[in-house]
C-alpha cells in the first residue's frame, strides 16, 4: 500500500476561529483535503508564519471534514494551546493562511455489522469521534459516548455531536460537569448496560491504556487513536514511534503517523520504551 496515499500540501485559509471552552475550534478552507479525509485522519500544520523559529509540523485530528459547500472542502479542528506552536495557531485570525498537509494517517475501521459501539474521548481526544459516530450511526450502530476531562472547560462535546450519538456520559475529575471521576469509572457499567461490542477511544496514552485494561478484561475489540510527539507527520523522521506488534507477532518500533494514529489496541505494547524482543532491539 502506498504511504500517505491521499495527502497533499495545501494552502488553507482560516474560515473561523472561535474559543470553545478551553479549546479553539478552527475551520479551514482546505482544498482537496476535506474531500479525501476519513474519520480518524489528521492534518499536519506548519506554524509560526514566515518568520517562524518553529520548523516542525503540528498534528491535529480532523474533527469534521466536508466536501460540499461553497468551498472546495472544509476541515475543522479542535486546538488546545499546549506549547508555542498550538498557541500561535489559536491566535490566527479569520482569513489568514496556513500550510497544511493531509489527510494523514490511518482511519477508524468501521464494523461490517450494526453493532453496539462505545466511543471514549479524553480532552480534545473526543474531536475525531463525533464524525466517526456519524458514520457508525449511518451503518445502523448504536453509539454511546463517554467524554472525560480534568474539568468541564476541557470537555469537548458539541451539541450536534451529542445529538448524533445515543447517549453521552461526561466525567470530570473535579466534578465540574457530569460524573465525578474518569472515563474508566463509568465504562464498565456502560459496557454491561448497552452490551457494547466494540470500543473506539482517543485521548491521552494513560487513558487509552486504562480503557484497554477494561476492554481486554471484557474481551471487547478496542481501536485506539494514539498520540506521540511528531516532527513531520508523514513518515520521514522516525520520531513518532511506538512498539507495535505486527501480524506475525513481531514487535517493531512503528511510526504512529503512518501506521497510526488509529491502531488495533491488540497490537499496542502498552509498556512503552523498547520492550524486550523488539525487532532490532540492542
Amino acid at each position: 500500500m502506498p504511504i500517505n496515499p491521499r495527502a497533499t500540501v495545501t494552502t488553507a485559509r482560516i474560515l473561523s476561529n472561535r474559543k470553545v471552552g478551553a479549546y479553539h475550534h478552527i475551520a479551514l478552507e482546505a482544498g482537496e483535503v476535506g474531500k479525501l479525509a476519513k474519520p480518524g485522519n489528521f492534518i499536519a500544520i506548519a506554524v509560526g508564519g514566515e518568520y517562524s523559529a518553529m520548523p516542525l509540523h503540528r498534528a491535529f485530528a480532523i474533527y469534521r471534514a466536508k466536501a460540499d459547500g461553497v468551498h472546495a472542502s472544509t476541515v475543522e479542528i479542535i486546538v488546545a494551546a499546549h506549547g508555542k506552536g498550538s498557541e500561535w495557531l489559536t491566535k490566527q485570525s479569520e482569513g489568514s493562511q496556513l500550510r497544511i498537509t493531509g489527510p494523514l494517517g490511518t482511519s477508524f475501521p468501521l464494523p461490517a455489522e450494526p453493532v453496539n459501539v462505545a466511543i471514549i474521548g479524553g480532552g480534545y481526544g473526543s474531536a475525531p469521534l463525533f464524525d466517526l459516530a456519524d458514520h457508525l450511526k449511518s451503518r445502523g450502530c448504536r453509539v454511546d459516548a463517554v467524554i472525560g476531562a480534568s474539568t468541564s472547560s476541557k470537555i469537548f462535546a458539541p451539541l450536534d455531536g451529542k445529538r448524533t450519538v445515543n447517549s453521552v456520559t461526561v466525567t470530570t475529575e473535579d466534578a465540574s460537569a457530569g460524573v465525578q471521576g474518569r472515563v474508566t469509572d463509568v465504562l464498565e457499567e456502560l459496557i454491561e448496560r448497552q452490551k457494547i461490542d466494540l470500543i473506539y477511544s482517543c485521548g491521552p496514552m494513560a487513558m487509552l491504556k486504562a480503557v484497554d485494561e477494561i476492554a481486554q478484561r471484557k474481551q471487547i475489540p478496542h481501536l485506539v487513536s494514539v498520540e506521540e510527539a511528531m516532527a513531520c507527520g508523514i513518515g520521514i523522521c522516525m520520531t513518532c514511534v511506538l512498539p507495535i506488534r505486527d501480524a506475525n507477532g513481531t514487535i517493531k518500533m512503528s511510526r504512529t503517523c503512518i501506521e497510526g494514529p488509529v491502531i488495533d489496541s491488540e497490537c499496542v505494547v502498552w509498556s512503552g520504551g523498547i520492550p524486550e524482543g523488539t525487532w532490532g532491539a540492542p
Binding site: I3, P55, L56, H57, A229, M230, C232, G235, W279
Partner: protein
C-alpha cells in the same frame, strides 16, 4: 523547466540537479513520493542503513529548538537485507537517483556493508555516515577520531571496489574538520558530505530532566546553517578539488546557494521537509531563479564562488 543548467557531479557520479534529500530525513523515499515524483530530486539519499535491523532509541526522540530540532533516532532501520530486497528496488523503479547511506558500529561492519553493496546496480553513490552522534558505541563517534575515520573509509574503499563514488559524511563536532577531511580523502573518499548534526541537549521544562530518551540528540535545521557554511567553506578552500555534498539548515533556494557558493556541488535538504514535504522541489526552483538572477548559466559556475 528553466534556462539554467542545474546538472552537477560528485566525483564521477552525475546528477541532473543539485537538490538531494538528507539521509534520515526522507526515509527510503516512499513517504515523499506521494508529494512529488522522486525524479525531481538530484538524488534520494536514503536513511543510513546498518547491517542488521535496529530498533533505535527510546522515545521521546525529538525536541524542537529555536529554528532547529534535536533528534535521537538511534539509526532505527530494517537492516541491509531488507533494504536491498525491498526499499532499494522500489526506489530504483521510480527512476530516482539513489545515494545509499550506510552506518556501522565497527570498522568491520562498514566493511561488511560495503561488500553487500558491491555490484548492486543502479546506485549513484555511497554516503558513509561516520558521524552519527547517536550510535551507542561508548559515545565515540568515528568522525571525531582521525584514525577511526580513516579506517572506516579505507575498509569501505577496499570492499566496495570502484563502482560507486564514496562520500564520507563528517561531523562538525570536531576541533579541526579539515584534519578529518584530509584523513578520509587520503583513505579514498571521493567526496565529502558536510555536515551532520551537532550534539545537543534539551532539558524538559516540566521534569527538569533531559527531554530525549537518548538524553543527547543531534541538532539540525536553520539554526546550524552558519556552522555548515563555515565547514564547507573551510574544507573547500583546503581541498578545492574534492566535491562536497552540503547540508545543514537549508530551507530556501537562497540557503542552498549559500552552501553552493561556499563550495558545495550539491545540497541535501533535511529538517526543512519536516515542516513542508515539498521543500526540496520548492528549493530547487528557487535556486534556479536565483542562479538566473545572478547571471549564472550553469550551476557549476556558482560552486565555490564565495572564495577568492
Amino acid at each position: 523547466m528553466s534556462v539554467v543548467d542545474l546538472s552537477t557531479e560528485l566525483a564521477y557520479a552525475k546528477f541532473e540537479n543539485p537538490i538531494f534529500t538528507a539521509s534520515g530525513c526522507a526515509s527510503s523515499g516512499k513517504e515523499l513520493s506521494q508529494f512529488f515524483p522522486l525524479t525531481e530530486l538530484g538524488a534520494m539519499v536514503t536513511k543510513s542503513i546498518m547491517l542488521r535491523p535496529r530498533s533505535g532509541r527510546a522515545t521521546p526522540r525529538m525536541a524542537e529548538t529555536p529554528s532547529g530540532m534535536l533528534n535521537s533516532i538511534g539509526l532505527q532501520g530494517p537492516g541491509i537485507d531488507h533494504f536491498l530486497e525491498d526499499d532499494l528496488p522500489w526506489l530504483l523503479e521510480t527512476g530516482a537517483r539513489a545515494v545509499v547511506s550506510i552506518a556501522g558500529e565497527s570498522v568491520d561492519e562498514y566493511g561488511a556493508l560495503a561488500r553487500r553493496l558491491r555490484g548492486v546496480r543502479g546506485i549513484a553513490a555511497i554516503e558513509v555516515n561516520i558521524s552519527c552522534p547517536n550510535v551507542e558505541n561508548r559515545g565515540m563517534v568515528f568522525a571525531c577520531d582521525p584514525t577511526s575515520a580513516r579506517a572506516v573509509i579505507e575498509t569501505v574503499r577496499i570492499n566496495i571496489g570502484g563502482e560507486f563514488p564514496i562520500i564520507a559524511k563528517l561531523s562538525p563536532d570536531v576541533t579541526d574538520i579539515c584534519a578529518i577531511a584530509g584523513e578520509v580523502i587520503n583513505a579514498g573518499a571521493d567526496g565529502l558530505a558536510l555536515i551532520n548534526t551537532l550534539l545537543g541537549m534539551v532539558i524538559d521544562p516540566k521534569t527538569l530532566k533531559p527531554l530525549l530518551g537518548g538524553k543527547t540528540g543531534g541538532l539540525s535545521g536553520p539554526a546550524i546553517r552558519p556552522v555548515a557554511v563555515r565547514a564547507i567553506y573551510q574544507v573547500h578552500s583546503r581541498f578545492p578539488k574534492v566535491p562536497i555534498l552540503g547540508m545543514g539548515g537549508v530551507a530556501s533556494g537562497s540557503d542552498a546557494l549559500q552552501l553552493i557558493a561556499a563550495g558545495a556541488s550539491a545540497v541535501s535538504v533535511g529538517t526543512a521537509s519536516f515542516g513542508d514535504p515539498l521543500a526540496p522541489v520548492r528549493i530547487k526552483s528557487e535556486l534556479a531563479s536565483l542562479l538566473i538572477h545572478h547571471g549564472f548559466a550553469r550551476l557549476r559556475d556558482a560552486i565555490g564562488v564565495a572564495h577568492g
